[in-house]
Amino acid sequence: MNAWIYIAIFIFLSLFFPALLAVAGWFLGPRRPNPIKEDTYECGLETVGETWVQFKIQYYLFALVFLVFDVELVFLYPWAVAYHKLPLYAVGEGVLFIALLAAALIYAWRKGALEWS
């Protein structure tokens, strides 16, 4: 419990330091805005069309594969922590779980979810 108070304080401080720097920069620097300065910088050309558009679908597929993996990997952590107390049978179960993960990876691979084109 005490450790979490420390971590909460630390996270607060780590938000505070960069915020302090940003505020210092805000007050120490000049502020002379004009429309040209505030324009979007895209190599000097005027920007064309909306920026916030729909994106390539491939990113979404990768995100889905990642989600499956990350959620399942978290389940492996308790197993790894308790590893030294486990009988061989439980170790085998963990290996089976990893094999299922590998099967999911091979499935995604075969289905072409990991191709970039």
Partner: protein, 410 residues
């Protein structure tokens, strides 16, 4: 307890007695002590970045056959301070089309995510908060750096910045999996997720137990930081500067601080997980030495990161994705299975017996992987020969006829 054997404990006890002497409640005293401790660590780390910037510029200069900064102060040591003073007095430009609050929060979140990792890093014996899920915490909080990049890239309302932000997320998503898998190996060997516990379990450094897992962890962390060769997110030649294209002044500098600190932080994490953390000769007697050892080890890994930056070209995005999903992830899965099955049978062999059998298993896996890669390479070369086939390219023009004099022609 003496000040030398228990430096932090002794000072903390003295401060606590002092504060309670002023009539403060014990709970409040504890919070104040934590605030001082956290403030010290965070400040130390944040100020250390100034030196890292000098170091990296100097080393990259040497790699590129230049001198690096050498004008301001001895060996250019004051150069980062000069840069800091310059950049803090520059204007902070906020583009008119930007999403203002998110735009300003982006760099702050990025820096905070990196800095917060230091809450759990064990600096020396008995120092550094010892939670039982510290290993998972580093990953969870480390992902906030990526969130910061996504926020700033999105909020800039700039196409280059958006491309960079999306690339960053794809890269983080791809390399998070091998990182988490490689991190499982030391957790499994130590039987705990507390970083202090992992350091204590390393009578023999885990890099000897699992050199391949260390390599995977290192590569994947470099990719998560977005350093060369994985710096697709700021590829100057394609997307100008990526997510920080619209930033200026101090908010821009925060990105740099976060970037350098992140590179050093993965060095510290790799040192804690695989290189024995604060372990070293004489640490039991003088715990303060622990922080020196940790710093040296973290610095060695950081130097490797800079070295990679100085010598490797940038990879393409499909190569980057393939390398993670089709090579690092399967390899990490195999390593995890090998470590889990092997450790169950060699646990009775004593520390060195265990370490050497793990090392041997790693060598076998590495050899098999190299064999497979060579086989794959040959198969691909057969499919698509590197030598041009007749008719593959349009015929080159025949060389112009050489003028010959009648004497030599005959």
């Amino acid at each position: 307890m003496g000040i030398l054997s228990q430096p932090v404990g002794a000072i903390a006890a003295w401060l606590q007695a002092l504060l309670e002497g002023w009539g403060l409640a014990p709970g409040l005293t504890k919070v104040i002590l934590y605030l001082i401790g956290a403030g010290l660590v965070a400040t130390l780390v944040q100020v250390w970045v100034i030196f890292l910037i000098w170091f990296e510029r100097k080393i990259i200069g040497r790699f590129q056959d230049r001198l690096g900064p050498n004008r301001v102060g001895p060996y250019g040591l004051l150069q980062p301070f000069a840069d800091l003073i310059k950049i803090i007095t520059k204007e902070v430009i906020i583009p008119a089309k930007a999403d203002k609050p998110v735009y300003l929060l982006g760099p702050i979140v990025m820096d905070a995510g990196v800095l917060a990792i230091w809450a759990v890093i064990p600096l020396m014996p008995m120092v550094g908060m010892d939670t039982n899920i510290a290993a998972l915490y580093t990953i969870a909080v480390g992902a906030f750096a990526t969130l910061g990049i996504l926020m700033s890239g999105w909020a800039s309302n700039n196409k280059f910045a958006l491309v960079s932000a999306i690339r960053t997320v794809a890269q983080m998503v791809a390399y998070e999996v091998p990182t988490v898998l490689a991190l499982l190996v030391p957790v499994l060997l130590a039987g705990t997720m507390s970083l202090q516990g992992i350091v204590k379990a390393q009578h023999v450094w885990f890099v000897i137990f699992a050199p391949l897992a260390f390599l995977i962890y290192f590569i994947a962390s470099v990719a998560e930081v977005g350093r060369t060769p994985f710096d697709l997110l700021e590829a100057e030649s394609e997307i100008v500067a990526g997510f920080h294209i619209e930033y200026s002044g101090m908010v821009f500098a925060i990105f740099y601080v976060a970037d350098f600190l992140h590179a050093f932080t993965i060095g510290a994490l790799a040192a804690v997980l695989f290189l024995g953390g604060w372990r070293g000769p004489g640490v039991e007697a003088f715990p303060l030495l622990g922080i020196v050892y940790l710093w040296i080890k973290a610095f060695a890994v950081y130097f490797l990161v800079v070295w990679a930056r100085g010598s490797l070209p940038r990879v393409r995005i499909d190569q980057m994705m393939n390398f993670s999903w089709k090579f690092l992830t399967p390899l990490a899965l195999i390593l995890l299975v090998v470590a889990a099955v092997l450790d169950h049978f060699v646990i009775g062999l004593g520390v060195w017996g265990r370490a050497l059998s793990h090392l041997a298993a790693n060598a076998v896996v590495a050899w098999l992987v190299l064999q497979y890669l060579e086989h794959y390479d040959r198969a691909r070369a057969r499919q698509r020969p590197m030598v041009a086939q007749p008719g593959q390219y349009p015929e080159a023009r025949p060389p112009a006829p050489v003028e010959t004099s009648p004497e030599t022609a005959s």
